[in-house]
């Protein structure tokens, strides 16, 4: 299973194995990794699963879709590689992915 590393805003790292077909959001939430709230559970309805994709991985994760971008426009502390992690599907190519958490989701 692909490994994903989540880095909390305070620098604490968590590396877990995520199932292919899950989302990057689910990998964190199901393992109770703090920093991603994901209030809507992945419905692209809440914008509380914001992460910064490590720039080295930004090409592989791709760009946000239209709805996702509109949501990100209203998130706090947005950076060029910001994504909603519930919209990134875990694939074999993402083995080793690193994402960082923003200061807060609300």
């Amino acid at each position: 299973m692909p490994k994903i590393t989540y880095i909390e805003h305070n620098g604490k790292e968590h590396t877990i194995e995520a199932a292919v077909g899950q989302t990057v959001m689910e990998g964190a939430v199901k393992h109770a990794i703090p920093g991603i709230d994901a209030d809507c559970g992945g419905a692209c309805a809440c914008a509380t699963c914001h992460v910064y994709v490590d720039p080295a991985w930004a090409d592989k994760t791709g760009k946000p879709g239209g709805m996702e971008q509109s949501m990100l426009d209203f998130a706090n502390d947005v950076e060029p590689t910001s994504r909603l992690s519930c919209q990134i599907k875990v694939t074999a190519e993402l083995d080793g992915l690193v994402v960082r958490m923003p200061p807060s989701q609300h």
Binding site: Q22, K30, H31, A32, C40, A45, M67
Partner: protein, 415 residues
């Protein structure tokens, strides 16, 4: 509560109960936390039940709020398949159906709500379902066949979401609704009309201003009889006529209730050691002048959990959000912020259509709510405005050439 809280008991292992347990730990609580839940599953999300779980796209594990192991890791005790049967407020204990008494210093009631039953003959025939739990959906799915005829009684969000999923699975769908329009309790006639039109275009038929009088069938459901004498043929029936707060335990224990367990803004009930959160509770909502609201939403479940955990930990309360909700039907994502009840003006941004639009609700010049269809910016923008107590001119919203972000940036405080 003057003494330190060492033991927290939570009744109900749904979204609110599960979140509350996790928030207590996240907030540094080191005492014992016991969550008592009637259902066999650990805390799970209900929204996908009428969406991706009904369609078969998601399996049961994906519904879970956290992996099963996460609770043990956090030293949270889940007692699943166990019902709380009584609260002894003097002794501060909760009795479970296996006869045990569990002591608490603080008790959180997160008992949710239950599907309202349809009081008509035949409502207990095989093939008649409600949609509240994962088990309900498993039962429905066992009856689903392509071209089967589904009658949905009640055109609320859950009924319409199920109708949309059923069309996608190849069923024939008829919706029976007592009100003259779908979604009549939750949105404006304009937004109702839009959803009615879309469902009709997808092949769903509607009987509006129509009341189910009986459900007929020999060994299983065969039709729904309406009060006007007509019949709707059906192989399966979904009853979605709303929910009732689950507050029997609270009432038996003498807590104040009125369409929900009454609480203060911190979610504390009339007993200071007992809190109530989620669908079962009714609390004042600050953005609406402290109006007492019983909300049935994920937002409310999570916010209640945060508030109760903060109150128990004597921590500063979380930042409050304007109530929000969503509904997925076909490729339409409806996002709602605020409470639309009592609006006197509706302002449309964009024409209702597949490209998306938003309906903003005002009371006087106060923006109180938005229904945004495939328009996340309008949803999040309006939510921020409500939270900040700001408003905007009607004409600004109608001007599609100005991005929502800009409109929000130039908003003004309420006079």
């Amino acid at each position: 509560m003057t003494q330190a809280v060492e033991r927290v008991v939570i009744i109900g292992a749904g979204q609110a109960g599960g979140e509350a347990a996790l928030r207590l730990r996240a907030g540094g609580f080191e005492g014992a936390v016991t969550v008592i839940g009637e259902e066999p599953l650990p805390p799970y999300q209900r929204p996908p039940l009428s969406k991706k779980y009904l369609s078969g796209e998601w399996d049961q594990d994906r519904l879970l709020l956290r992996d099963r192991e996460a609770y043990a890791q956090e030293k949270l005790v889940l007692r699943l398949g166990a019902a709380a049967t009584a609260i002894d407020r003097a002794a501060k204990t909760v009795r479970t159906d296996d006869g045990q008494d569990i002591a608490y210093d603080a008790l959180i009631l997160a008992t949710g709500s239950r599907a309202r039953a349809l009081p008509v003959p035949g409502a207990d025939l095989p093939g008649v379902f409600r949609l509240r739990t994962a088990a309900d959906v498993d039962a429905i799915r066992a009856w689903i066949r392509p071209r089967a005829r589904l009658a949905v009684i009640g055109a609320g969000y859950i009924g319409l979401e199920a109708a949309a999923v059923a069309r996608g699975l190849g069923l024939e769908v008829a919706v029976i609704e007592a009100a003259p329009r779908p979604l009549s309790r939750v949105t404006s006639p304009e937004v109702s009309a839009f959803f009615l039109e879309r469902h009709t275009a997808e092949g769903v038929t509607f009987a509006l201003s129509a009341q189910a009088a009986f459900i007929a069938g020999d060994h299983h459901v065969e039709s729904v009889g309406l009060k006007d004498g007509s019949e709707v043929a059906a192989d399966l029936v979904l009853v979605g006529v709303g929910v009732l707060p689950e507050m029997g335990l609270a009432q038996a224990a003498g807590l104040k209730t009125e369409d929900g367990i009454l609480t203060d803004a911190d979610t504390r009930t009339s007993d200071p050691a007992i809190f109530a959160i989620g669908d079962c509770a009714r609390r004042p909502i600050s953005f609406y002048g402290g109006r007492l609201c019983r909300l049935e939403s994920v937002h409310n479940a999570i916010e209640g959990a945060k508030l109760a955990a903060a109150a128990i930990l004597k921590a500063s309360p979380p930042a409050l959000e304007a109530p929000w909700f969503w509904s997925d039907q076909y490729d339409l994502k409806l996002q709602i912020a605020g409470l639309f009840q009592g609006y006197d003006r509706l302002v449309l941004r964009g024409e209702p259509g597949p490209q998306g639009f938003a309906a903003f609700y005002f009371a006087g010049d106060k923006l109180i709510a938005v229904d945004a269809v495939n328009r996340p910016a309008e949803f999040l923008g309006a939510k921020q405005l409500i939270q900040r107590g700001q408003t905007v001119a009607f004409e600004r919203l109608q001007d599609m050439s100005v991005p929502m972000k800009e409109i929000v940036a130039q908003a003004r405080p309420l006079s």
